[in-house]
């Protein structure tokens, strides 16, 4: 095969052009009358129809589904999780005769429930009409921060209006301030930062704060913590030893310097070189000087090392999940029951990483080799044509050999050649590195998945849920809550050269982001309005946010960590804290901590809540109300309400009275350099506020 310099590019464009329509628009929304009734009639009504349907569940009408049977409603429009019917069908518990519904039938049912279970074709058509935009209608001119914000507010507002749901009022300054700090800096603001912002009085102060936080190095560090957890999961093997701290620094620098998301991802996918040591001392400097060139960005591929090399199957599973929001790893072993990916798709994409290996055998070795990608794949390139559907060109395409199951259950070895997800066979330049070709395809502006995946993830970072949930599974039948907005933001993100700061600034600047999280009075929030973004959600602080926020709010806690950092074996206290309070990242809006974390928060971290924890702000000269106010600002970054003031006044009075009556001999004797452990009612108050849900959640 000869090659043409523009061939790769041409193939890429062809691929993405072919796909763009396919992902931006969706199959028509099914309706009960046209699509669901025939399925039910064929498969379900012999038990759930007639005079006495099983379990009292009659599936002849849409109303019958909503009314349900003995165990409650069969469907909850818009929610698979709350639709019993779906649970039974998806797990093949129903139909009870063992003849399961086909993947297509399941797909129709799933899309129907997700779309809100429309009754008639006309209703379904209205949903479709309101939904996705044509690509051509989307502006691809990069807009400014105001434009992005306006786009968001318009689209979110339209949907709220249609649904008849009222948006929450604008968050007050204090709530906004705390939220911005947690979302962009990974911690709550300090007492000083809080009082300064609340006192400032000019119309642009919110916009200024957003810009200021995005320009602060804390921004990159916070993003680095989030991405480090995703890129190097805990389940990664212990070998090679990933230099976590250095990798985080590299990520932080990349985010802080405003590098395009496409560039960062390209680096992760194409990095070559030695992994640096995780500690910086004389010994490691000496060994690192021999291991050149070094590239800490190899950490991502190195984290997929098993059996002596970074494994293509693990790499492609992560890459597609994290950067393209396609969950294809199930297809590793079998064709996916619900999504479109087949086993061959998985292995064809994995083949791009087939040549990634170390320059020497390093299994069980202590010094990992240099990560390289030789021009040919060595022993895995076969020079006979592959069996099966895919053409195979010797020496040009990287291939993987895999046992595939055919329709008769027979397993045969097949050679699968590299192919981009959802495309025909990739035309590769034989001179080109396959993973570079993959990175170029994956991070191009025309890629149908890349921008959407990241926009959805960033949105979920800021709102606690994405337009599509789960964020790593944007399959065709997993419909976005706001398809048009997702399309528009993705186009904006791509047109603006994948500038994360700009995207974040735009979202943070929107009224949608700046809504209060408490519902408007008398408006009972429900699941449906959460998906409409009618108020800001409550997001559980991650373990890192919790640690940083405690450091900001409780000086004795910060001091404990400083001491820990100076120990001979530094960081143990910190690591233990992070481990105990670890959260499940896939459930940002749920409370996942239990009894043990509550015990640790209340009783665990030593005598932190003493007079020293008040940082000298509480004084005998100030009024009780003023002192209470200062503790509120310190812990919760807001002023107390008048009811709160009254209640806390009573608490302080009683506690002070109790302390007065203590036998002085029972009081701790203070030594020179010891913390001031004198009991203090305000320290008790601080303890109470720190243990409140308001502290532990971002709201």
């Amino acid at each position: 095969m000869f090659h043409h310099p523009n061939r790769l590019l041409a193939a890429m464009l062809a691929v993405s052009a072919g796909l763009a329509g396919g992902t931006a628009t969706f199959a028509d929304t099914p309706s009960f009358d046209q699509d669901i009734r025939p399925i039910l009639a064929e498969r379900c009504l012999h038990c759930h129809g007639g005079e006495s349907p099983k379990n009292g569940l009659r599936l002849t009408t849409r109303e019958g589904l909503l009314r349900g049977g003995k165990t409650g409603s069969a469907i909850e429009p818009g929610s698979l999780r709350d639709s019993l019917l779906w649970t039974f069908i998806a797990t093949d518990k129903m139909p009870a005769d063992g003849n399961k519904l086909s993947a297509d039938q399941k797909g129709v049912l799933r899309r129907w429930i997700l779309a809100g279970a429309p009754a008639t074709a006309a209703e379904a058509a209205r949903i479709d009409a309101a939904a996705p935009l044509k690509r051509s209608q989307i502006s691809t001119e990069p807009g400014g921060v105001e434009q992005i914000a306006a786009l968001i507010d318009r689209r979110i507002g339209e949907r709220l209006k249609t649904a008849g749901v009222t948006a929450s009022p604008r968050a007050d300054d204090a709530e906004f301030l705390r939220r911005i700090y947690l979302d962009l800096a990974g911690r709550i603001p300090s007492y000083e930062e809080t009082t300064a912002f609340l006192a400032a009085d000019h119309p642009q102060k919110r916009r200024q704060l957003i810009d200021e936080r995005l320009a602060s190095p804390e921004f990159g560090r916070h993003q680095a913590i989030l991405w480090h957890k995703l890129l190097i999961p805990k389940s990664a093997g212990a070998y090679p030893r990933i230099p976590h701290e250095r990798f985080r620094e590299w990520l932080a620098d990349s985010f802080n310097s405003g590098r395009a998301w496409s560039e960062i991802v390209t680096d992760l996918l194409t990095a070559e070189g030695y992994l640096p040591s995780d500690k910086d001392n004389e010994l490691t400097r000496k060994s690192d000087s021999k291991r050149q060139p070094q590239n800490v960005a190899t950490a991502f591929l190195n984290a997929h090392n098993t059996e002596g090399r970074p494994q293509p199957k693990g790499i492609i599973a992560s890459v597609s999940r994290l950067f393209l929001a396609q969950s294809i790893e199930c297809a590793q072993c079998h064709n996916h029951p619900q999504a479109k990916w087949e086993q061959t798709d998985f292995w064809a994409a994995a083949a791009f990483f087939e040549r990634v290996r170390y320059d020497k055998a390093t299994y069980g070795d202590t010094s990992i080799g240099r990560l390289i990608e030789p021009a040919t794949g060595g022993d895995l390139i076969y020079d006979e044509p592959a069996k099966g559907r895919y053409a195979f060109v010797p020496g040009v395409y990287p291939t993987v050999a895999i046992n595939l199951e055919d329709a008769n259950g027979q397993r045969t070895k097949q050679m699968i050649a590299a192919r981009f997800l959802g495309s025909e066979l990739a035309e590769l330049d034989p001179e080109e590195s396959p993973r570079r070709a993959f990175a170029a395809w994956a991070t191009s502006r025309e890629n149908p998945y890349f921008a959407r995946a990241q926009v959805n993830r960033v949105w979920s970072q800021l709102f606690g849920r994405g337009f599509v949930e789960p964020v790593d599974d944007m399959s065709e039948d997993n419909r976005p809550s706001h398809p048009e907005l997702l399309d528009e933001l993705s186009a904006q993100f791509a047109a603006g050269n994948f500038d994360l700061k700009r995207l974040l600034a735009g979202i943070c600047h929107s009224q949608t982001y700046q809504q209060a999280s408490a519902p408007s009075a008398g408006d009972a929030p429900d699941r449906a309005s959460a998906a409409l973004f009618a108020r800001q959600s409550l997001k559980q602080l991650t373990e890192d946010q919790l640690l940083a926020s405690l450091s900001a709010a409780v000086p004795t806690f910060a001091k404990m960590l400083e001491k820990d950092a100076r120990e001979k074996n530094p960081g143990l206290v910190r690591a233990a804290f992070l481990e105990v309070h670890e959260t499940d990242d896939s459930l940002p809006t749920e409370h996942t901590r239990g009894l043990q974390q509550a015990l640790r928060m209340m009783n665990g971290d030593g005598k932190l809540f003493n007079r020293e924890a008040l940082a000298g702000r509480v004084s005998a000269e100030a009024t009780v109300d003023e002192n209470i106010r200062r503790v509120y600002l310190q812990a919760l970054c807001r002023n107390p309400s008048s009811q709160e003031l009254a209640r806390m006044r009573a608490f302080i009075a009683t506690a002070a009275d109790e302390i007065q009556r203590l036998d002085p001999r029972q009081l701790p004797q203070r030594k020179n350099d010891q913390p001031d452990n004198t009991p203090d009612p305000y320290a008790d108050l601080l303890w109470v506020l720190i243990n409140s849900g308001e502290f532990i959640f971002n709201h």
Partner: protein, 423 residues
């Protein structure tokens, strides 16, 4: 505990109840459901997992081949069944035990095996599968004991990925007990504790009202449980030293025996699932010598647990599971990792677990291996079948599903079946 303590606790509970008043969704509904379950006369079932971390050798414990050069076998209380000569007390209990000699689970590396045998599933990046302990806590957990439903003994202070509640949520997370006492159970500053806790619960009530958020209810509920535990008289259950001397002697003074005794005390006090951890079974240097050394402690602790539970009338409602993440190569040169000697390599193709109690038909061997123990000759038992069996023994529907990020997941993998011979 004094009377005033009790009245204060009652007060705290009243406040907590007021906090949730009016809502019949969320945890109150679960509370109500479980209270009504607790009112039924039958004692809910419990489970004690004796986890032998590292993978104990079946051919040096419960599946010693005939004419084995290393170990002799001894007859047991059940004619025709023989086990290792170093387990005489267990041999006497065999009428209550079922030996599952054809476990065939496929994963012979530690981490994947530990995950599989704790959750019934292979680890996945997409789903956080709950540990068996969390499943049992959810399905069999009792309210009003003041104790957590799922306790893990002797592991670390932080649950590993396969010991967690995963998709079932924090309500069913394990209480980790690494030493012999509970940590963080006492406030560092005892003074004014009641006033502080009272204020805290008031603040939590007010914020639930203000934000109308399920998360805050769950947060307050965790605190309520923690505060209950801080004041529960039942925490005495953790103090095995208050057990009569002869009972302590029955279990022995080794770490494993003491944990078995603690497990019995916890189950008696209403804990639904206790995991006992005994590490160091990864005998790559060959299993014969080290297992012989460990056998007396295993023999005494395990047999004491069966005997004692029986005496207390608890064996019929308590399932004991003895297992590791896999077994070991029955011959030299077989199995994963360093496998130079007999019993050295990791082996998941054909290995043994033991079940006892919970009304299962004991006194039997399930499955048949080839004489050398290398292959399953009849009736392979998958991890899914094993989980389905455990579920059924505990009156849990193995096909019941929970929600994991929108995907319904059954407790035991789809298609698995309980081992019929045991019921």
């Amino acid at each position: 505990m004094t009377n005033s303590d009790f009245s204060r606790r009652a007060g705290l509970r009243a406040i907590a109840a007021a906090a949730i008043g009016g809502s019949l969704t969320g945890w109150l509904a679960r509370f109500a459901a479980r209270v009504s379950a607790a009112e039924s006369t039958k004692r809910p079932k419990s489970c004690i997992l004796l986890w032998m971390d590292g993978g104990p050798s079946q051919t040096h414990t419960f599946a010693v081949p005939d004419k084995d050069p290393d170990y002799k076998t001894i007859p047991t209380a059940v004619s025709g069944i023989h086990i290792s000569e170093h387990l005489p007390k267990l041999a006497a209990c065999l009428g209550d035990m079922a030996l599952l000699r054809t476990m065939s689970t496929g994963l012979n590396n530690h981490a994947p095996g530990q995950y599989l045998m704790h959750t019934g599933y292979r680890a996945s990046v997409a789903i956080n599968y709950p540990s068996l302990g969390a499943i049992v806590a959810k399905e069999c957990g009792q309210l009003g004991t003041g104790l957590p439903s799922y306790v893990n003994l002797g592991s670390s202070s932080v649950p590993k990925s396969f010991q967690r509640a995963g998709a079932l949520g924090a309500d069913f997370a394990p209480m980790m007990l690494s030493g012999s006492s509970i940590t963080d159970i006492r406030p560092p500053i005892a003074a004014r504790e009641a006033a502080r806790l009272e204020l805290l619960q008031e603040v939590q009530t007010a914020e639930i009202d203000r934000f109308q958020a399920e998360q805050l209810r769950s947060h307050a509920a965790s605190y309520r449980k923690a505060i209950d535990l801080m004041h529960a008289t039942q925490t005495r259950a953790f103090d095995y030293k208050s057990e009569p001397r002869e009972i302590q002697q029955l279990y022995g003074s080794g770490g494993f025996g003491v944990q078995c005794l603690q497990a019995r005390r916890l189950v008696e006090a209403g804990v639904s699932f206790v995991e006992v951890n005994w590490g160091g079974w990864d005998h790559h240097g060959g299993a014969a010598e080290p297992v012989q050394k460990r056998s007396p402690e295993l023999d005494q602790g395990f047999s004491a647990l069966i005997t004692d539970l029986k005496q207390c009338g608890l064996l019929d409602s308590t399932l004991i599971v003895w297992m590791g993440e896999f077994g070991r190569g029955p011959l030299a040169g077989i199995g994963g990792g360093n496998n130079g000697k007999k019993g050295a390599g990791h082996y998941a193709k054909c290995w043994t677990t033991v079940l006892a109690g919970a009304g299962l038909k004991g006194g039997q061997v399930v499955g048949k291996t080839t004489p050398d123990g290398v292959e399953v000759a009849d009736r392979p038992i998958s991890a899914g079948d094993f989980f389905a069996t455990i579920c059924r023994a505990l009156d849990i529907d193995p096909t019941a599903t929970y929600d994991a990020a929108g995907r319904p997941v059954p407790y035991a993998a789809t298609g698995s079946k309980p081992i019929a011979e045991l019921f």
